[in-house]
Symmetry: C2
Amino acid sequence: MEHLKISSAQRIIFEAISTLDTEQVALEQSLWRVLAEDIYANRDLPPYDVSAMDGFAVHSRDLATLPVTLQIIEDIKAGDMPTLPLKTGQCSRIMTGAPMPQGADAVIRVEDTLELSADTVQMIVSVKSGHDVRPKGEQMHNGDVVLKAGAEITPGVIGILATVKAAKMQVYRRPSVAILSTGNELEAINAPPNPDKIPDSNTYALMAQVQALGIEPVLLGIARDDPAELEAFLKTGLEYDVLLVSGGTSVGVHDYVRPTIEKLGVSMKFWRVAMKPGHPLAFGVRHAASDALVFGLPGNPVSSMVCFEEFVAPALRCMMGHQRLFRRTVTARLAHAVKMRPGRTEFIRVQLTQDETGFIASSTGTQSSGVLLSMARADGLMVMPADCTGLAAGSQVTVQLLDGTAFQNDINFRE
Amino acid sequence: MEHLKISSAQRIIFEAISTLDTEQVALEQSLWRVLAEDIYANRDLPPYDVSAMDGFAVHSRDLATLPVTLQIIEDIKAGDMPTLPLKTGQCSRIMTGAPMPQGADAVIRVEDTLELSADTVQMIVSVKSGHDVRPKGEQMHNGDVVLKAGAEITPGVIGILATVKAAKMQVYRRPSVAILSTGNELEAINAPPNPDKIPDSNTYALMAQVQALGIEPVLLGIARDDPAELEAFLKTGLEYDVLLVSGGTSVGVHDYVRPTIEKLGVSMKFWRVAMKPGHPLAFGVRHAASDALVFGLPGNPVSSMVCFEEFVAPALRCMMGHQRLFRRTVTARLAHAVKMRPGRTEFIRVQLTQDETGFIASSTGTQSSGVLLSMARADGLMVMPADCTGLAAGSQVTVQLLDGTAFQNDINFRE
């Protein structure tokens, strides 16, 4: 069996997949989706010069000699249009966002004035022309492309979509995802406890990793090590865009997954990826009316979760049109020395703290891939390159953030 | 009007709020919620010593002299119990996760052996006792607290919950949130375009910021600057745990929000917070059978979004039981010089790139708080302390990550 580099395995996966088709969603359902169309401004915004502050619209040349008393000729609220042009010695009271009156070129904040009466105000500061005025079209000009296809719909993007009154928009479809666990040793969450069995955690950890990407997966359950049962489950799973199978891809002689899945028309590649925890990993495609992708993940819970982050999450995000496919990395200093047997890229579960110089990474404890608590406690995965034999306390390291859902364009770590 | 520090305003908010009551959710609906109960292990896991690899269960002392040929006496699959104890010179074929047979103390990986026949195998490496064996209880011991109340339910935590077969659990309730925009100048998303109006983007940007925290808000729409209309809207809004009102909290004379909201029994505090963009900000509580919190946010779209991140998001997360309330910060180097007028903490919208030394921050362009595109393009908010007069290119700065949803315990920037 081949021993692949992480980047090589990723490249094979990316070559086999493509962005899915598009669908229309309402603005209210669009958060974290990816735009599949360019979005244009449908007006100048602001539609005219407006005040950036609550205060008084003035002509700056009237403030050349201070203090000066001006006559207030009008009150302009946001949403009103001014009716009176300013003459020398005049000003209008104006609210933030309200249109500037004719003859005014600047705004004096209300805090910088002394109101003498209902219709006179003393100016005590001078300003340049344009001060605290938002010029027409500052935010956008009619016809501008304000958002390009491929943009992720963040809260700020939703603000822009609302600004151009895009109540619906085309986005890339999300893949349908099915999850299957395999193995006679597994006990379903609703099954009576049997001391000789192992509870099936992979189904749910993978479910949550998929949910964290905004996809609601279908849980197929547990397939026993029986060719007919496995075939029935796999057949169902291949009706989805992506099938995640955990367990059953090892080199052991009791493995029915490989022959069964190949019998169903899936062209599978089985790899040992040079990473720890991780290998073995399988990936395959069944080309049909709509392609089905299959990922075979290790049965070990930590390995399964790490493989998901390194291979499945980037693939699912790519299918949804994202440009940011990889977990956000940060640099950190190592809180303690770490020994390592070189040969495979190692992902060490770490907690992060901060001081004035940046992040400090410390191991979550045992790194046994059997101990899922190490993953539950982790803020990130510290990446130890394959040629590393160990690092001293204080060394600079790269950590993939696991908390929350921040992604970046490049994988940005050395294997 | 007071000029408050950001941290002072946050402290007043935190003193007025508390964690909400709890509710039961199913494991499938629990992602990113916060546990409101301790979770215990309900068995030893693994329930006995198991193999960590596919290979052969041996006694390490049989491998003292190499090579050595051992007799294979049994095949042990995961989910099976071994039936034959090993004698000297014997081994059993064993799968990952399968129980170790009596008389075995180590596992030799299948790759490190030469199979001579169906029932003999040659060992070519020696190992220590315990090698590639996961000891009974390595993952958890029966009765251990495996997760504490207050833990955020991440994918790793969901794996642990599934491991102890917690199909349902108590979590802190999410607040109900209503969003109201105010101002005659605003145009609803479904209203016909009027060139003299400004589209209401705040409702949707705030909606998305609330959704990003896992809460589906109720959108109340736009209240005109009319006391009766405003009162009716605010009354409805106060039926929710949290009401967000944007616009109408300025010092202008046309402001009906303050008197109307106080008339409805809300004890309001109005502040100018020493930040840019940002002020003015209002915060109030109406104590009743269930308390209602009101946040008055600036009408300006960028200011409203920044105030949400600094004040509303931490409050909502606190109510949901989170310990990590503040946006994740990273240190970055500034790509270009930045000038600043000291006096207020400034949040500059930046894009982040990376090189081998870490993050590089560069401005998204105009920092006018009228330009929402600067927010849509931002990866983060660079925090310029209030006493700063400017920074040279290459200076170390603190950036709050806006992409995705990563949070930390402390605010971790200097105001």
